[in-house]
């Protein structure tokens, strides 16, 4: 990352190949953590935990794509800011949605929250 606009030298193919390898491994991992508890009959897994694991792997994959394939790792701070901005807005938007979800929340004794 540079502090101001500088042309960076081309990212070498080996970086792309490693990123690709890591993405394939992560894809296999996300299938395995889903397949084993659901299709082999080896114990059940908490659904919230399963979803969190799948989403964590997806976020790592997205970060790999953004940092290396999209070359944000080698880009200026302004690019970092812009690349992060979309996800910030997405976070705000999910905060707004949480308002709607929280309307159904109940106290332990069943009274409205």
């Amino acid at each position: 990352m540079t502090t101001h606009a500088e042309t960076h030298a081309p990212v070498q193919p080996v970086v792309y190949l490693r990123t690709y390898g890591a993405l394939l491994v992560l894809m296999a991992l996300t299938v395995v953590v889903w397949y084993v508890p659901n299709h082999t009959g080896t114990g059940h897994i908490n659904q919230a935990l399963a979803l969190s694991m799948a989403m964590l792997i997806a976020i790592i994959k997205a970060l790999l794509v953004i940092l290396f394939f999209m070359q944000v790792k080698y880009s200026s701070k302004l690019t970092w800011l812009w690349a992060g901005l979309g996800f910030m807005w997405l976070l705000f938007m999910s905060g707004i949605i949480m308002d709607y979800v929280s309307r159904n929340f109940r106290m332990p004794d069943g009274r409205p929250f």
Binding site: H8, Q12, Y16, T19, A54, F69, G86, I97
Partner: protein
């Protein structure tokens, strides 16, 4: 996992900068101090567009999340109709196309025009393969089984070994799941199609050696778009195909 990249690998060659007959840099517009500044504004401009795309898809992902919280059983039952093997195959196809697109950008950056075209043609082929798998092997059978939301929608549940049984969940709620499935994968598919068109135009311009593509930036920006399409699928795959029982 190879998250870290040795610094030495990053820098060996320099991007090819085209010059005109007077030795001046081509395509450096007068409002920019230097090429780096111009490149940065191209990239930031593209990211600005991608921010709107993140919110566009993001809103639909939030609708998905909202109804999944509300009807977890429906999602679990309806997702049995999706074949995870086809989803996984399409994930591999798209990840590979991202690699070939990154290579197309690299070749354009070091001035290898025809190699860049070659990699882009491979990317376009993989993108087309993605659409064929999606439409012919996933959408069309669902159409035949009346699983497309609308007047002819007719829901049935599937057992783990693939037998059709009476619906275990409310068909109306399952229709919602398929509505989201077709909307999200459909919009994503349209993005794939647009990607193919953009790459096709770039290939033609590169083959004709047009001045507009003599500097690698247009290919880089198409690459950013293509990787974004890949990211959307990275989330779609586990959210639709890998739902637990």
């Amino acid at each position: 996992l190879s998250l870290e990249v040795a610094k030495s690998e990053e820098v060996t060659e320099h991007a090819v900068l085209p010059t005109d007959e007077h030795g001046h840099e081509e395509h450096l517009y007068h409002q920019f101090e230097n090429r780096a500044q111009q490149d940065e504004s191209y990239v930031v401009g593209m990211w600005t567009f991608l921010v709107t795309e993140i919110l566009f898809f993001g809103a639909l992902f939030l609708v998905y999340a909202l109804f999944r919280m509300k009807y977890p059983q429906v999602y679990s039952d309806a997702h049995e109709h999706l074949d995870w093997r086809l989803g996984a195959l399409n994930t591999v196809v798209l990840l590979t196309s991202s690699l070939t697109m990154a290579m197309a950008v690299y070749e354009a950056q070091i001035g290898k025009r025809w190699r860049s075209i070659g990699y882009m043609l491979v990317t376009m082929f993989l993108a087309a393969a993605f659409l064929v798998i999606k439409l012919a092997f996933e959408w069309y059978p669902k159409w035949q089984h009346h699983l497309v939301p609308g007047p002819s929608f007719h829901y049935f549940s599937l057992t783990p070994d693939g037998r059709e049984i009476a619906p275990l969940v409310a068909p109306g709620k399952a229709e919602l799941f398929f509505g989201l499935y077709f909307t999200l994968t459909g919009l994503h598919g349209i993005h794939v199609l647009i990607g193919i068109l953009v790459m096709g135009v770039l290939c033609i311009l590169l083959a004709l050696n047009r001045p507009s593509v003599r500097y690698y930036m247009p290919i880089e920006l198409a690459g950013l778009y293509w990787h974004f399409v890949d990211i959307v699928w990275i989330f779609l795959f586990p959210l639709f195909y890998l739902i637990g029982r």
